[in-house]
């Protein structure tokens, strides 16, 4: 820092120079990675260690996430080059573990995580090296800075396309036992593609053109897989297996939508999408998303531990995931997590006055509501990540494999019920300029949404038509059905209706100032 600024500068100069946050994030991440990997190593060495292998693995993966964030914020060349090297090593090691048939399945799972983490780390540090300008001094670095993004982009696009085509081929042949490798390849390709766009700059014309191509390709693939699955189901053009959509087609659909919608979110200049991008950045630039994710991780870990105990104590029949999800701690996390995510959405804008600036730009109220809604919903789904990570660690804990297909239906239930919660929280946030009041209202609403699950079993209600009504509106009933592999439309309809009605209400509340 310029010493003159210390003498002549005001507090804002000093604050602007504060660079303690990135190293703090990096240090926390490094500790989590080291402790986590050590715990896994102790487990494989059959030695006792206070931290279990599952928690250790999840901690290591979350720690890598913090290292990636540090790499994005850091400007020191030595640290960034170290990250670049570490990322490259992890990527190569992970890929080797994935493709080597002699490697055990549980280590292959680790290889997937390692390859993804390594790629993300390498790309983040490459981007920061470019921003720091250090690559400009050395001709070889300038060359690397020019060609590395192109290479990453080509490999990424190629890998993603190869992975998805491979999945298509496996679905045609009805071979579902080897979906892991093409899925991993597709995910690596997506991360590489995103990294390429980040390296060339998301606002650049190149990124814009490629983003639109990826959007159309992704959405086109999604339509193609739906059409193909439909043709198989109607017997017009049958594939070799009994089903095309589950699970191969579903995985292709999810990946295609991720590409298509993700690219759209990155390149579109529609007001709702612009607001979506800003809100996403705001969530992850404030502590709230991390606190809620940490709380979810802890709550999910508690449920996961109880789930492992049940698996060890007695024979649990498939589908087993209900024993993991329908647990007090996860429900409490959702009950409190939703208000924390939604309470500031409109309340803070009203309090600070930024809503007035927003509503005097050529942006309609519906775009504002939709942009904030989708940002909060995506953040809510990201916060469920520890739940999925714990399941990935089941092989490490010497548990037998489980039928993962209920996860497919559960993911739909999660999105639909989450849409209802988030929309309701957004509508309640529009009613007050005080975040605490909005949060309290949303918490009350969440408790009311939980109540049907408890009330349906009460004496006097059980067995009556009221019990049926309560089952339709209870989100826990929806989760239970989906974890049994069933998606019941009448259960989905309530939550979808709640989402639509709440979004409508939020829009009208914003418009109400024009009726005064």
């Amino acid at each position: 820092m310029d010493p003159q600024k210390l003498v002549n500068g005001g507090p804002s100069d000093l604050l602007a120079e504060d660079r303690s946050l990135p190293p703090t994030i990096g240090s926390c991440g490094a500790v989590m990675v080291m402790v986590g990997l050590f715990a896994v190593a102790m487990h494989f060495a059959e030695r006792a260690f206070p931290v279990g292998p599952a928690v250790g693995l999840v901690g290591a993966l979350l720690g890598f996430l913090l290292l990636v964030v540090h790499a994005l914020l850091e400007r020191g060349e030595i640290i960034l080059l170290s990250y670049l090297g570490l990322g490259a090593v992890l990527l190569v090691a992970g890929l080797v573990a994935l493709v080597n048939p002699r490697v055990p399945m549980d280590v292959r799972a680790l290889g997937t995580g390692g390859a993804l983490a390594g790629l993300a780390l390498a790309l983040a540090s490459s981007r920061s090296l470019g921003l720091s300008g250090t690559t400009g001094r050395d001709p070889s670095r300038r060359l690397a800075a020019l060609w590395a993004p192109r290479l990453i982009g080509i490999l990424g696009a190629g890998g993603a396309l190869l992975g998805i085509l491979w999945l298509f081929a496996l679905s045609e042949r009805g071979e579902f036992s080897h979906l892991g490798l093409p899925t991993t390849l597709s995910l690596l390709g997506l991360v590489a593609g995103l990294g390429y766009l980040g390296l060339v700059g998301f606002g650049s014309d190149t990124a814009n053109r490629l983003g639109w191509i990826a959007c159309f390709v992704g959405l086109g693939l999604a339509l193609a897989v739906l059409a193909r699955s439909g043709l198989h189901a109607w017997g017009v053009w049958k594939a070799q297996g009994t089903t095309h959509f589950i699970p191969g087609g579903w995985i292709i659909l999810a990946l295609s939508l991720l590409v298509g919608l993700g690219a759209f979110a990155l390149v579109s200049d529609s007001p709702a999408v612009v607001i979506f991008r800003r809100e996403m950045a705001s969530f992850f630039l404030s502590p709230i998303a991390y606190f809620v994710m940490m709380a979810f991780a802890l709550g999910t870990w508690t449920s996961y531990s109880l789930f492992l105990d049940r698996l060890a104590d007695r024979q649990v029949l498939e589908p087993i995931l209900g024993n993991y999800v329908i647990e007090l701690f996860i429900v409490l996390c959702v009950l409190f997590g939703v208000p924390l995510l939604t309470m500031r959405l409109l309340s803070e804008e009203k309090r600070s006055g930024t809503l007035e600036v927003l509503l005097t730009a050529p942006v309609d109220e519906l775009s504002i509501v939709l942009g904030k809604f989708f940002a909060a919903l995506v953040t809510y789904l990201i916060i469920w990540m520890p739940f999925g990570l714990y399941l990935l660690t089941l092989p490490v804990t010497n548990q037998p494999g489980f039928d993962y297909r209920p996860l497919l239906s559960y993911s739909v239930a999660l999105v639909v019920s989450g849409a209802g919660f988030i929309a309701l929280g957004l509508a309640l946030s529009s009613l007050s300029s005080n975040q605490l009041i909005s949060g309290a209202l949303t918490l009350t609403a969440m408790i009311l949404l939980l109540a049907p699950y408890i009330l349906q079993f009460r004496q006097g209600i059980e067995g009556t038509p009221w019990s049926t009504v309560l089952q339709h509106v209870s989100f826990l009933n929806l989760w239970e059905s989906s974890l049994e592999g069933k998606l019941v439309p009448r259960q989905l309809v309530f939550h979808l209706s709640l989402a639509v009605l709440s979004l409508f209400a939020a829009t009208k509340v914003l418009e109400a100032r024009r009726w005064q």
Partner: protein, 331 residues
């Protein structure tokens, strides 16, 4: 493009029982800088919020560049840049990120967006803080960022609610100079409590008083008026009688000074100079004369007339002798 940038016709706004604006009618020309004055609660911010389509009027119409603010609000919003009073910004965003975000919301073309943002950053002199977090900026820089935001998409009308409020004297001067420069190629409507800064740069002045438009005049016509100042001692009615006898058609105000002298001010049109007649008349009546001169009628005079219209019908108040009129009015 409409002949007049802003046309307001009998605009009225009620908030429940409270009358915020009453029958306000005025129009603003293209490339005009207009100062909007008024005490707190006069209706300045309400008027601006109606023009920016944030609030509807209870009755009356307002058009910006020919588009109705109620029925064609999107068209109006595309043509205005607005800076609210408290300069609301997102503290977690950086300056250029925020301007990029606002540029996208305003529909600026992607191919030229970057260049235009850079030009506005230079014009508003915030290049040195473009990578800073908004939450760490001083009031002066926040104001400049807010102004830069208002300038995005090159609006034809800028509406600025007290843009100099809270700035130090140096920052105020810079802000006013920037507004004067911006006013060359667009219409600016800005509100302020300080008459001196309004007088320094505006072409037209609007004064709101309790929701009514009490004054609407170009500054150059105001400055053609002059005020004859006479300080005398003796029977007040005698002094007043002399002046009313000589210049009967013109408004007369009196102020009793603390040292017992009486100050009389008469508003006269340019070119009329009755000083020798006044001096002779007072001498003939043996009324002592301490001061007899002209000064330009200022906005401060007009402001005092408007605000004192009910409280002091005919003038008269105690104040120290020989001092200038209050520099700042309102609070």
């Amino acid at each position: 493009m409409a002949d007049q940038m802003v046309e307001v016709n009998r605009l009225t706004k009620h908030f429940g029982q409270v009358l915020a604006l009453s029958d306000v009618t005025f129009s603003l020309q293209n490339n005009e800088i207009v100062g909007l004055l008024g005490n707190n609660g006069a209706g300045k911010s309400t008027l601006m919020r109606i023009l920016t389509t944030y609030l509807p009027a209870t009755s009356g119409t307002a058009r910006v560049d020919g588009f109705d603010v109620l029925n064609q609000s999107m068209e109006v919003r595309r043509r205005i840049g607005y800076l609210p009073e408290n300069i609301p910004l997102y503290p977690e965003m950086r300056v250029e990120e925020y301007l990029g975000y606002r540029a996208q919301l305003k529909g600026m073309d992607r191919s030229t967006r970057r260049g235009q943002i850079d030009a506005i950053i230079d014009r508003c002199r915030i290049s040195g803080v473009r990578r800073r977090l908004l939450g760490t900026l001083s009031k002066g820089y926040r104001q400049r960022v807010g102004l830069a935001d208002a300038l995005l998409a090159n609006p034809r009308l800028l509406i600025l609610d007290e843009p100099t409020d809270g700035l130090d004297p140096g920052q105020k001067q810079d802000a006013l100079a920037l507004l004067k420069d911006l006013g060359r190629d667009r219409t600016i409507l800005f509100s302020s409590h300080l008459l001196v800064e309004v007088e320094a740069i505006v072409d037209r002045v609007l004064i709101l008083r309790r929701g009514h438009l009490a004054f609407n005049q170009r500054l150059e016509t105001l400055e053609r008026d002059q005020i004859l100042l006479v300080e005398s001692r003796g029977e007040p009615n005698a002094v007043i009688g002399v002046l009313k006898g000589l210049v009967p058609q013109h408004p007369l105000q009196t102020l009793a000074l603390e040292d017992g002298w009486l100050e009389c001010s008469v508003r006269l049109p340019e070119g009329l100079d009755p000083r020798s007649e006044v001096a002779r008349a007072l001498h003939e009546r043996s009324l002592p004369l301490r001061r007899l001169d002209f000064r330009r009628r200022t906005l401060q005079d007009r402001w005092n007339e408007i605000n004192n219209a009910e409280a002091l019908p005919g003038g008269g108040a105690r104040r120290p002798a020989g001092n200038d009129l209050p520099h700042a009015v309102g609070g």
